[in-house]
Symmetry: C2
Subunit: 200 residues, 2 copies
Amino acid sequence: MKGNLFVISGPSGAGKGTICKAFMKKHPEVYLSVSATTRKPREEDVEGVTYFFVSEEEFRARIARDEFLEHACYCGNYYGTPKDKAMEQLEAGRDVILEIESDGAMQVRSHFPEGVFIFVCPPSLEELEARLRGRGSETQEEISSRLEKAMSEFHRAKKYNYILMNDSVDAAVSRLEAIVTAEKCYMPRNIDFIDKEFLK
Amino acid sequence: MKGNLFVISGPSGAGKGTICKAFMKKHPEVYLSVSATTRKPREEDVEGVTYFFVSEEEFRARIARDEFLEHACYCGNYYGTPKDKAMEQLEAGRDVILEIESDGAMQVRSHFPEGVFIFVCPPSLEELEARLRGRGSETQEEISSRLEKAMSEFHRAKKYNYILMNDSVDAAVSRLEAIVTAEKCYMPRNIDFIDKEFLK
């Protein structure tokens, strides 16, 4: 059986990065895709682990060579998901997680409707604002831009399969684990087995 | 938030009863619907726990009063799900499980497409046959009738949301727990929250 593609998105500050990190700690059998980006590394970034950091010129060349599963420009920086590695892992039967912005998620959805699209949601608007301010690495202008972007992302929530409430990281990770397990039982992924074993 | 209705079905011998029993032991917060039936009690039956045993006359009267969520005649006996109790529990926010035959499941689906329909599947045809024979409470004729019925049920598997493989009871119960949790995150059940909290 092929692996499933889980696309985890949601507004900046909803906590998708934290959830994915905690999930991956418990599930090294899952492949977490590493995005390429043109944004400047922050202190906590590790090349090849948090992102692949590339120049804008290189990024544009990769777009031209159709090497991204999705790509988007967000707050002046490019972000993209390398295609080859994710496809390899799925074919080999490994589940793959993409943690990406919603522009990218919608691109992936148009090419992979069989993917599982998960919208990470903060418990409240107040909490979202507090998280964005608390991060401390953005200017006021950047925070405002992210909040505005967040609002447009909520309008897209209905295009996802699941809403993953991030009221606590542990609870959100448990829900994500349940979604990953439940999707393995999803009928369209298992109907071939029924046909072959019982209706041959 | 209202409870979710889980309809668990599948061929006789697939193990849906065993799975539900084991699940309920771990999850007394869920309401397991008790069916009414006209079949004769077996030794292990307990009135009001395994079934409500009623006469055929009484059963027909209840059908006439529209008191069943679904009902079916199976191997010469009537089986039906009392409507009022299940509806009450859902409204009160409690998840409800119906363990019923597939004729009934399809009836429920036509009235409650928002229900979660789960097809319990034995690991192989050989295993299914062995389980039916091993039960020992049926005549050869009854076993043949159940096997024939089983085949027609596999044709309906594609009308369910999930295929729950019963290779081991523990594994099947874990998968069922995951489905119950994942369904709470299902987008259509959460989009009102997004609308109210973030897009008001």
